[in-house]
């Protein structure tokens, strides 16, 4: 914990004039977490006399643009918090600095390896993981009761959830679930089902086997019979949350951090909600969205910027942040083992955190790093949509993607 902090202190005394300023950017955390970040900034400035630390928070869809604009203008922020796919995409565009040579090897050992892997590409580390959040399953008990389902005995497998979803739709006319399969999320569904993306040498995409086709075909059939709403494919989780909040969705796969928001958005639905851990399938993994701090190309002092990223993601800071959110998890080895994450009260929000904690050891950021990610991901998205919306068969869609990927890997 102490080392990154000391490192930056040393660097600052060696290289900075007193008037200098560092800047870090977070993704969609203000104003909710102002009470965490404002003291964090003050703590940093007290420990590094004469150095100003500027905190900027941006919406997720604006942050990449901000970095690229900052690089173009010669004044990018020193550390930027992004998710895995954003970091990999920017790294491939040459917009981020690899951190391997900017920090001591011991620093990287502080983090969980699986979390660090989500930000590594072609042997280089482009982000220091900050916090992770895995998924849980939430059920609207009012809807379950209408469908004759027992809220106290929820399904423990994805196929079980699908069966419940069908029953809900058949018996109530309300959508049972809204699968998270928009954009490239089906790659995560494959991994959770234990189906490989690449061959053992990671040289060829192999996700067009009969088992892969069968999994996709299952969702094609569900859509064809209107068991999930069409706008899930274009609006993803936003559509699912909107429906659940309106009391128009029986089951939602959701991050535990959304429970406090649900409490405010529709208290009646929140009160009717029970939660369960996300089922662990044959893949023995579950998607865990992970955010990390990256250092943009063109920062004034790369080592100082990397040290700032290390300090922001230190044991103490990660632990304090996840305690503050109550629903996210640290990604350093030490902080992740804090007993806080295995204890709690009986409110839905507490139970959601505990449900997530139960599967956190299976949590991986299942983003698939590939070269030319934007072109490959677009081919994936277009073909999956074509299959789901009945424009081509599941097999033809997966064959087409695999051919394109293999020609460009």
């Amino acid at each position: 914990m102490l080392k990154p902090f000391l490192t930056i202190g040393v660097l600052l005394t060696l290289g900075l004039s007193s008037a200098q300023q560092l800047e870090f950017v977070t993704t969609s955390l203000a104003p909710t977490f102002n009470d965490f970040f404002e003291p964090l900034v003050a703590r940093f400035e007290r420990a590094n006399a004469g150095v100003k630390l500027k905190w900027t928070d941006l919406p997720q869809n604006a942050i990449q643009q901000k970095i690229l604009a900052g690089i173009a203008a010669g004044n990018p922020p020193d550390a930027v918090q992004l998710n895995s796919s954003q970091i990999l995409e920017l790294a491939q565009q040459g917009a981020l600095l690899p951190l391997n040579d900017l920090l001591e090897a011991a620093t990287f050992k502080l983090y969980q390896k699986t979390a660090l892997d989500a930000f590594s590409y072609e042997g280089k580390i482009y982000g220091l993981p900050d916090y992770a959040s895995t998924r849980i399953v939430a059920f609207n008990t009012d809807i379950l009761k209408k469908a004759g389902l027992d809220p106290n005995n929820p399904p423990k497998t994805i196929p079980g959830i699908i069966e419940w979803a069908k029953t809900i739709k058949d018996k109530t006319g309300i959508y049972g679930f809204a699968p998270l399969i928009a954009n490239v999320d089906f790659l995560k569904a494959f991994q959770e089902a234990g189906l490989p993306i690449f061959d053992a040498a990671r040289k060829k995409a192999v996700f067009n086997s009969p088992a892969h086709v069968a999994l996709l075909q299952q969702y094609v059939e569900l859509r064809k019979k209107d068991y999930f709403p069409e706008d899930v494919m274009r609006r993803g989780f936003t559509a699912a949350y909107e429906l659940y909040t309106a009391g128009k969705l029986g089951i939602i796969i959701i991050g535990p951090q959304f429970m406090p928001r649900l409490e405010k958005d529709n208290n009646a639905v929140w009160k009717a909600t029970v939660v369960a851990p996300h089922p662990i399938g044959p893949g023995q993994v579950v998607q865990a969205s992970t955010f990390a701090y990256a250092v943009p190309k063109g920062v004034r002092d790369p080592k100082r910027a990397a040290a700032l990223a290390a300090w922001l993601t230190s044991d103490d800071n990660q632990l304090a942040f996840s305690k503050r959110t109550g629903t996210t998890f640290p990604t350093t080895v030490k902080a992740a083992n804090d007993p806080f994450f295995r204890s709690g009260g009986s409110s839905v929000n507490d139970l959601a955190r505990l449900a997530a904690a139960k599967t956190m050891r299976y949590g991986r950021d299942l983003t698939v790093p590939v070269p030319n990610a934007s072109a490959l991901n677009k081919a994936f998205k277009d073909n999956i949509e074509a299959a789901i919306f009945g424009q081509k068969s599941a097999k033809a869609a997966l064959d087409e993607i695999v051919k394109f990927w293999n020609a460009n890997l």
Binding site: A62, D226, M233, T238, T245, A246, K264, K403
Partner: protein, 692 residues
């Protein structure tokens, strides 16, 4: 040892020699009279309902243009036909001649009789009859707009030999065939191309994104990249004089950032008292409970109506919860999203109705599964709903739901392959009022229609076809991107002489890859063997194709290739150079500099053209065209069915009077490695310079 075996000796030698500074590979040049020759499009777009074409032609010699009626649409038709002839041949048609090309309507007894005799009488609004035959040609509209639409078909029958013989009877499937454009600082340069193009494609309405127009009533919000009000007025005239109706789109309630732009700070921090979510880091929606919202919005809405004189105004109202909380303030939460949405919509609807104008909205909030039961019944049924879904799909049942609730509905598509086609077919099935081809290129993104997001404009073509004639069978033609480029740079029908360069002695990779040693070393299933070789015509250009001069790149399979190659051209002069080129692999970053071409002239001077990925060249496996800087000339498939394509970049030689000694190809070593497949030197620059 393995590396040596994988690299044929000749190629190794070329690679080695080409890297020596003084060494240049001498190449053979073949002069030809028609190195470039424009041609008529291979098919009519949109495809007519009924058409018979033959391989005979009506010569332009002695052919005169004549309007048979007073309607302005007939004069617009003559204008467009004259411009087509002028662009293709550099000449104009006379007003008197031995043969006539007549444009009129069924109101003209003689033309009506002539149409009847040929069994072509049009019987639907915007329908037309058209014939080209030995004695002359005629376009006869059911109405004046029909005559104008027919003239657009006739333009496409113009060939190097004259007008192709044809008999056509045609009409649109929908009365509303709308395409979307933008008003911004680049509006004039771009919309002067796009609006005539939309007319040529027989669109009937144009949705004009108008958020950032510098209205008199919004002076406090003027964005420097917004279009002046005078430009809005000009574009409205331009649209109407091309036979279409403008529909302004002013995004209100949501996507309303334009209401919050502060010219003093350059940020979106104005009118903060109107923000729906005051704690949000960015502005997105306004709070309908704040009375001052309407003091700001309604005068702008009135001015929009004053400028456009439209039948409808589209007021947006989509994706309300996409960015921030809505509702956010406690008092708004108490009212709830459905009531806030309805109250705001009614306020705007009633204002527009008072001005004699109808209202149009997007569907996704009012008709969402979450809010439909509360919002839809509270809305007036004469609101037209634009249903959008940008994935190709076998069906769009929500079109039927909206229609079933008593609303007029338009099916709205975007540029994903198959999306406009499937949307038009569904719209027809559900009895929709029409169809809308959207474009989402950014509020200030007009320039990207030239370079950056041209694929969205290419989709105007297949959408227009699907909207006019949804049941027309078959996939869209594969030359749509080339046709779009021709809207910017019309190819002449007069040949341009030039010299074909045989790259054979400089080839580093063969196009066919039977044993994973050639092309990109992925074997015969992923090679370029489908490209015709020898002396071939690709699009309007001729090339001598012998293989590829592929340069070094970051991928292992390209690591043994030369970083640069110098081609000896022997002191030839050229006005322009046409490069048939690509990259072996996809670039990781658009506009990344991946290499250069450098001309060395006889006097020792040099000129260099940097090659930027996505702007000057692109991978052979990325056939989608995002720019008109280069020209798509060949589309094919690999053995295992992957779409492939090659493009031509024309370089306007900066020193056309200086003999060219050599051309040096250089790679910067990125993943996208420059690969030259053909080179032709031209005596003239083809087409007019496109605006930038």
């Amino acid at each position: 040892m393995k590396l040596f075996l994988r690299t044929p000796p000749l190629l190794s030698l070329v690679g080695f020699l080409a890297t020596l500074p003084a060494f240049a590979i001498p190449l053979a040049l073949t002069p030809v009279p028609d190195a470039y020759l424009g041609s008529a499009p291979a098919s009519l777009l949109p495809p007519p309902q009924e058409a018979r074409l033959s391989e005979a032609f009506l010569s332009l010699e002695g052919l005169a243009l004549q309007a048979e009626g007073p309607q302005p649409e007939l004069q617009w038709a003559l204008r467009d036909l004259s411009r087509e002839v002028q662009a293709r041949f550099g000449t104009t048609l006379a007003t008197e001649g031995s043969k006539l090309l007549r444009v009129g309507t069924l109101e003209h007894p003689e033309l009506a009789q002539a149409a009847r005799e040929r069994g072509l009488t049009p019987d639907k609004p915007e329908g037309y009859a058209l014939w080209v035959e030995e004695g002359g040609a005629a376009v006869v509209g059911f109405d004046a707009l029909g005559a104008y639409r027919g003239a657009q078909t006739l333009r496409q029958l113009l060939t190097p030999q004259g007008f192709r013989f044809a008999q056509v009877r045609d009409w649109p499937a929908f009365g509303w065939r709308m395409a979307m454009i933008y008003l911004d600082k680049d509006s004039r340069a771009v919309n002067d191309v796009l609006v005539p193009l939309l007319a040529k494609l027989k669109y009937s309405h144009v949705l004009v994104m108008s958020d950032y127009v510098q209205w008199n009533s919004s002076r406090a919000l003027w964005h420097p990249s917004g279009a002046p009000r005078a430009e809005a007025e000009r574009v409205v005239r331009l649209i109407r004089e091309h036979g279409m109706e403008p529909v302004p789109l002013l995004e209100l309630l949501s996507h309303a950032q334009w209401l919050f732009y502060n010219p003093q700070t350059g940020r979106y921090d104005a009118n903060k008292d109107l923000w729906a979510d005051p704690e949000a880091p960015n502005s997105f929606a306004y709070d309908p409970l704040v009375p001052r919202v309407y003091e700001v919005v309604l005068p702008i809405l009135s001015e929009v109506v004053e400028v456009f004189k439209p039948r409808y105004v589209h007021i947006g109202h989509d994706e309300l919860t996409a960015q921030n909380r809505f509702p956010a303030k406690p008092e708004a939460v108490a009212v709830g999203l459905p009531r806030l949405f309805v109250d705001d919509t009614l306020r705007l609807y009633n204002h527009l109705k008072g001005l004699g104008v109808g209202t149009m909205i997007w569907h996704d909030v009012a008709f969402s599964e979450a809010y439909r039961e509360q919002i839809a019944p509270a809305l007036p049924k004469d609101i037209v709903v634009a249903y959008w879904n940008y994935s190709a799909a076998a069906d769009y049942p929500l079109l039927g739901v909206v229609r079933g609730l008593g609303f007029g509905v338009l099916g709205s598509s975007w540029y994903n392959p198959g999306n406009p086609e499937s949307m038009a077919q569904a719209a027809l099935r559900y009895g929709a009022n029409g169809v809308l081809q959207t474009r989402w290129s950014g509020y200030f993104g007009n320039a990207t229609m030239y370079d950056g997001q041209a694929e969205q404009a290419v989709a105007y073509f297949n959408a227009a076809s699907a909207f006019w004639n949804p049941p027309a069978p078959g996939a869209p033609p594969d030359d749509l991107a080339a046709r779009y480029r021709q809207a910017w740079r019309v190819p002449p029908f007069t040949p341009i002489a030039g010299q074909l360069v045989d790259l054979g002695p400089a080839v580093t990779r063969r196009l066919a890859d039977p044993d994973e040693t050639q092309w990109i070393q992925k074997g015969p299933s992923t090679d370029l063997s489908a490209l015709p070789s020898g002396v071939v015509r690709l699009g309007p250009y001729r090339f001598h194709v012998s293989g590829a001069v592929m340069l070094k790149g970051a991928r292992a399979a390209a690591s043994d290739l030369p970083q640069s190659v110098t081609l000896e051209l022997g002191g030839v002069k050229a006005r322009a150079l046409a490069f048939l080129h690509t990259t072996g692999w996809i670039g990781s970053q658009r506009y990344e500099r991946v290499g250069s071409y450098t001309l060395t002239y006889a006097d020792g001077s040099k000129a260099t053209l940097p090659l930027e990925y996505g702007r000057h060249l692109t991978s052979w496996l990325e056939p989608q065209v995002r720019t008109v800087v280069y020209e798509p000339v060949w589309r094919g498939r690999t053995q295992d069915g992957l779409e492939a394509g090659l493009n031509v970049l024309v370089w306007n030689n900066p020193k056309p009077d200086q003999p060219i000694q050599s051309l040096t190809l250089e790679s910067s070593g990125a993943a996208a490695n420059p690969t030259l497949v053909g080179l032709t030197l031209l005596e003239r620059l083809p087409g007019a310079e496109a605006p930038r």
